[in-house]
Amino acid sequence: MKTILIVEDSATTRALIRAVIDELGEFETVEASSGFEALKILPQQEYDLIITDINMPDINGLELINFVRNNPRYKQIPIIIVSTERSEEDKKRGMALGATAYVTKPFKSSELQEIIQKTIAS
């Protein structure tokens, strides 16, 4: 089974994303409540996808994306940004840093599911 790392500081949104993924029934999920925690979790196992928020305390999503893309071990992992409509500028920066796709909060579960499927398939 493929594993998805969810990086999001809001417990609510994290639970929501996990529920959306669980509905697909094809993936395991691991959760990190900040960019910092993601850095701790990353080396522990192999991930097939990272879903990350951008605005987080300590290490933000952009810094995480930059780190992942510049690290030989992780740089192939696709990344989906999940962020609010206000963070238009941040999203652009995330894409420039090498994120694979983005979803705007609030999102429909079908929308996120579709993007996850597409991103993992490619």
Binding site: S10, P57, L62, E63, N66, N70
Partner: protein, 661 residues
């Protein structure tokens, strides 16, 4: 209330509490320089509240906190500059959020927030675009710029603008301990300035290690920093220092800055509970003052007019005046304009009338009328009851109105005004009015009155305040549910006021709520009935009389007395409570109540006025009718305070042979 809802309320209240203190902190510091972390924390609190309320499907709170989150986002990105207006606006909206959360805990339906959202949106647009940021081009390496979030970029620019140095500390940690090490480094850096961004890196870092580049702004020079931070530090932008010139320039603005430190706002926000405590203390002091006064009188009786006795008397008088002033001042602080309540109610009218498809215009008068904050909050529910009642049952559907030749839109009028020591609030509708005949039938059916009892309409209509008496069946427009008007009456009575109703077929119904302006300490008349002493609040009485028993007549089972040509029903307080009373040809009478509800209470002796602090009787005596509470009067004597409203109610109907259930 179910557990998860309780959980939500607890969390929401905590977040609002935190937001409140953060906003206070912003208010205290904005003129001297706000800690960006404070702004960010408020932004996050709104963000979290949005998330939590969304999870519980509470759309109003979700939308409102989202709008405030957006506002705070603009503030933290420097698009909106904090000033008094912003702070006042934040406080106001936190209050609104609190009201919404309170509504949830009281099982009220969520209010419509569309107006609030519009307010926030237009406020945001008004305030926006004041911030002016410098560019970072050629100062900071683009490879660093591209990983900064918009917020971090803003903080970077703000640091540059303030002339602070911007540095990059580089650290490499082993993967298994990096969390603790990074935490320690972060703390060290925060002590030196503001941490702008923490950038993890794996370039030029050996296997099993992780690197961090921490960008921070600081007032200190590189040399100074190197003593504190034990890692490589690059200077991205030097601290703007020209030591001599800086100091000379700094000396002058320093003075100006000192005056700026002082906030221009002179307002403080105080929890109503604190004012309650002050009032309680004043209450206790009033008792102490009473004791001093009494001692003065006793001394005068024993020692005559000695100068020391005179002094005691003078001090007692001075205490009395100052205490009265102090009390007035505190009570004044507690006063709020009723308009605050009206505007909340107008939301309900708008939303609720839309829901049930009736067109209703709302007219408000006397929004400036002031009322004690506690009373104002307590009166919201009764008012809401009455308004919903009017919308549900009072106002007819528009075709029905047209047929009657009435204006198509119904009108609800909210009116507040002061009358003596009372505030009167009217809720008037121009609907179908109450069907008096039906009320009578229902009252007979419920055995509240005997079939053959004759009551005038004004008396009959009072039955709608009886527990279990549904208005559903007795209003012209038969629709929906009946609202328990007894609850309204009980609430008013508990607040020391009363509810009345006037109605006219096809013209409309007016509910009139009468409330004392303030609670707490009141003046009362101390009276004696048999061997008992009671207090009668002065606010509920208009005069005292000496009544010759021969002049009391019995008309239709009522004992009445003609006062200046008008019939005044009399109540024998001794009879009401089953007490003895003096035998004699004359009694004293205290006239209580207003207008149609005026009655005379027959008592044995008057002792004069005194200030009392009414304490509740607690649950034990809850079922005893006729007492509003107890009060201590001098020498630790406790007496009961008469609830004149109950006495009036009971007697007006009882005397006609009605049996109250």
């Amino acid at each position: 209330m179910n557990a998860s809802k309780k959980e939500f309320i607890a969390e929401a209240e905590e977040l609002l509490q935190e937001s409140q203190s953060l906003t206070l902190e912003i208010q205290d510091t904005f003129s001297s320089g706000i800690n960006p972390d404070t702004i960010n924390a408020l932004f996050r609190a709104m963000h979290t509240l949005k998330g939590v309320s969304g999870l519980f499907g509470l759309q109003g709170i979700t939308k409102l906190s989202h709008a405030l989150e957006t506002l705070m986002d603009d503030v933290r990105l420097g698009k909106i500059e904090v000033d008094d207006a912003v702070i006042a606006f934040l406080f106001r909206n936190l209050d609104i959020l609190r009201t919404l959360v309170d509504g949830i805990s009281n099982d009220r339906e969520e209010e419509d927030v569309a107006d609030y959202l519009r307010d926030i949106e237009s406020f945001r647009n008004r305030q926006k675009g004041q911030g002016d940021e410098g560019a970072t081009d050629n100062i900071i390496d683009p490879s660093i710029m591209k990983v900064l979030s918009e917020y971090e970029e803003h903080r970077l620019k703000a640091n540059l603008k303030e002339g602070k140095g911007v540095y990059l500390a580089k650290a490499v940690f082993s993967l298994d301990i990096f969390d603790k090490a990074l935490e320690a480094l972060t703390k060290t850096i925060k002590a030196q300035g503001e941490l702008i961004s923490t950038l993890p890196t794996s370039s030029n870092v050996p296997e099993g290690f992780i690197g961090f580049n921490l960008m921070f702004g600081s007032n200190r020079s590189l040399e100074g920093l190197k003593k504190e931070v034990d890692y490589d530090i690059d200077v991205l932008s030097g601290q703007r220092e020209a030591p001599q010139a800086m100091q000379a320039a700094a000396a002058l603005p320093q003075k100006i800055q000192d005056t700026h430190l002082k906030s221009t706002s002179t307002t403080v926000r105080v929890d109503i509970e604190k004012l309650d405590r002050i009032l309680n203390t004043i209450g206790e002091l009033t008792l102490a003052k009473g004791a001093v006064k009494r001692i003065g009188i006793e001394l005068a009786e024993s020692f005559g007019r000695a100068s020391l006795v005179h002094d005691v008397h003078k001090i007692a008088m001075s205490l009395e005046r100052r205490l009265a002033e102090l009390q007035d001042q505190v009570l004044e602080i507690r006063m709020v304009p009723i308009g605050q309540i009206f505007s909340r109610l107008s939301q309900i009218v708008r939303r609720y009338s839309r829901e049930i498809g009736k067109q209703i215009d709302l007219v408000m008068y006397g929004e400036d009328t002031e009322l004690d904050k506690f009373l104002a909050e307590e009166i919201v529910d009764p008012l809401m009851h009455l308004i919903r009642n009017s919308i549900d049952h009072g106002i007819e559907m528009s075709d029905n109105r047209k047929a009657k030749g009435k204006k198509e839109n119904g009108t609800i009028t909210l009116k507040a005004y002061q009358k003596g020591n009372h505030v009167l609030i009217e809720v008037r509708d121009d609907g179908g009015g109450i069907n008096i005949e039906k009320v009578r039938e229902k009252a007979v059916e419920k055995r509240l009155i005997d079939d053959d009892v004759e009551l005038v309409d004004k008396e009959v209509v009072q039955f709608i305040f009886t527990p279990g008496f549904s208005t559903k069946d007795v209003v012209s427009e038969v629709s929906g549910r009946g609202v328990g008007l007894d609850v309204v009456k009980q609430k008013l009575s508990a607040l020391g006021g009363f509810a009345d109703v006037e109605t006219k077929r096809d013209v409309g119904t007016t509910f009139i709520l009468t409330l004392p302006i303030t609670l707490a300490i009141i003046k009362a008349l101390i009276v004696r009935v048999g061997n008992e002493r009671f207090a009668v609040p002065l606010t509920s009485m208009s005069e005292t009389l000496i009544v010759d028993h021969k002049e009391i007549q019995t008309i239709e089972w009522k004992e009445v007395y003609y006062l200046r040509g008008e019939m005044l029903p009399m109540i024998r307080v001794s009879k009401f409570f089953g007490l003895d009373s003096d035998v004699g040809e004359r009694s004293f009478a205290v006239v209580v109540g207003f207008g149609e509800r005026r009655v005379g209470l027959l008592i044995d002796e008057l002792f004069g006025q005194q200030e009392i602090v009414i304490k509740t009787l607690g649950d034990y005596l809850k079922k005893v009718k006729g007492f509003a509470g107890a009060a201590e009067i001098g020498k630790h004597e406790v007496i009961l305070v008469l609830d004149t409203e109950v006495l009036i109610d009971e007697s007006l109907i009882k005397q006609k042979g009605a049996t109250y259930v």
